[in-house]
Symmetry: C2
Subunit: 201 residues, 2 copies
DNA sequence: ACATGCATGATACGTATGTACCAACAGAGT
DNA sequence: ACTCTGTTGGTACATACGTATCATGCATGT
């Protein structure tokens, strides 16, 4: 059979074209034709690899989730102690560099879609943003048992609050109310309040 | 001249029809015709009162801001001490009752639009969500001077963090990860950490 | 060498949308 | 009483979109 082009590679190329448009102009500008042009292929090709638009949107969203996950693991990999792991988890979501700005903006573009389309909402249930909280709780608990966090602290509440805060800080950066550095400062300030100072002994 | 119908009332009627659609089906479903049908008027009327769609969108967004402001003042009015004022400011944004769910969802529907359209973003600069932070800082400072918050606390950082947290909590409720009550519990927990316990003397 | 089937291209179709245009009506000022 | 201006209705138009259809090429298995 004729396997001229790598299927998965093509799909990636097209899906990333959509993500690029969603990032820069929003999802409402991401028509099939616009995606095709952005990807440098014909409209028919987009249709061929993704029969329907919803399929393309969902596939691209899944890829975005993978990208975020990869970034997070990269950041976590550089952490040396539990506190740095927690800081990495939270900071890597903040739009402070080009990659995180792109990811955050693109997620924001999907936000309205996810809210209005129940089906997309379901498929999103297993995505990083949702699973993340449990993971963060585990890390906080580890830090607590290592003595980095006061034992009476409720780490589940802390995790929920921090994650929501990071989410909200990201929105404010995207909205132009704050710079990424300012958002980072706010986050660091709250992490200072959560973690105990290292024992000077 | 022929002033048969109250202009402002008509505009309100149409704008609120748009907000209703934005709430329930998202802004992408809010076509001029859909708004007209929802408002029970003809398409021509919508065009007459709002020449362009952008005008309608902007007007409705401004009204939404006014509604949120009114709700907040109502909530603040019931507060009896500085802590209750702060709690009111933050809690009234959380999607815990029908009205706040509606407002939050509708704002969420506008979110993508605001991000992708720089012009809308500018006009939003003087809106409640932006002005709010300064107001919250003032309230926190007042509470601090009244002895309700430890003097060494950085209230600006606290205000930024809390507002972002409430924003993020709202998103998680809308996304179905949490109930409104759970979000409220997370907020209350963090306010407990910020405010000093009342002096039992 | 050739037929098979995947891959790609060009184009058509039906629909929905924002906006514009033309017509009709009603009350107020004179 | 009449006109004039603000108001409302119906409808048309150009465009953009998602999807479907028809057609062509090209590599590969035999």
């Amino acid at each position: 059979m004729a396997e001229k082009a790598d299927h998965e590679e093509r799909r990636r190329q097209i899906a990333e074209a959509l993500l690029r448009i969603a990032d820069t102009e929003g999802l409402q500008s991401a028509s099939m034709r616009a995606v095709a042009t952005e990807a440098g292929v014909s409209l028919r090709l987009v249709q061929y690899y993704f029969t329907t638009k919803q399929g393309l949107l969902l596939d691209a969203l899944a890829r975005l989730g993978t990208q975020l996950q990869a970034r997070m693991q990269r950041w976590i990999g550089e952490a040396r102690d539990p506190r740095e792991v927690v800081t990495a988890i939270l900071s890597c979501i903040l739009p402070t560099d080009a990659e995180s700005r792109r990811i955050t903006r693109t997620y924001a573009a999907y936000y309205a879609l996810v809210l209005s389309d129940p089906e997309v909402l379901e498929r999103q249930a297993a995505q990083p943003p949702v699973v993340l909280e449990g993971f963060l709780v585990k890390q906080l608990r580890a830090a607590q048992q290592a003595g980095g966090i006061a034992p009476e602290r409720d780490v589940e509440m802390a995790a929920a609050g921090l994650l929501a805060m990071v989410n909200g800080l990201g929105s404010s950066v995207l909205g132009g109310q704050r710079t990424g550095e300012q958002a980072q400062a706010v986050l660091d300030h709250h992490l200072d309040g959560l973690f105990l100072p290292p024992r000077g002994r």
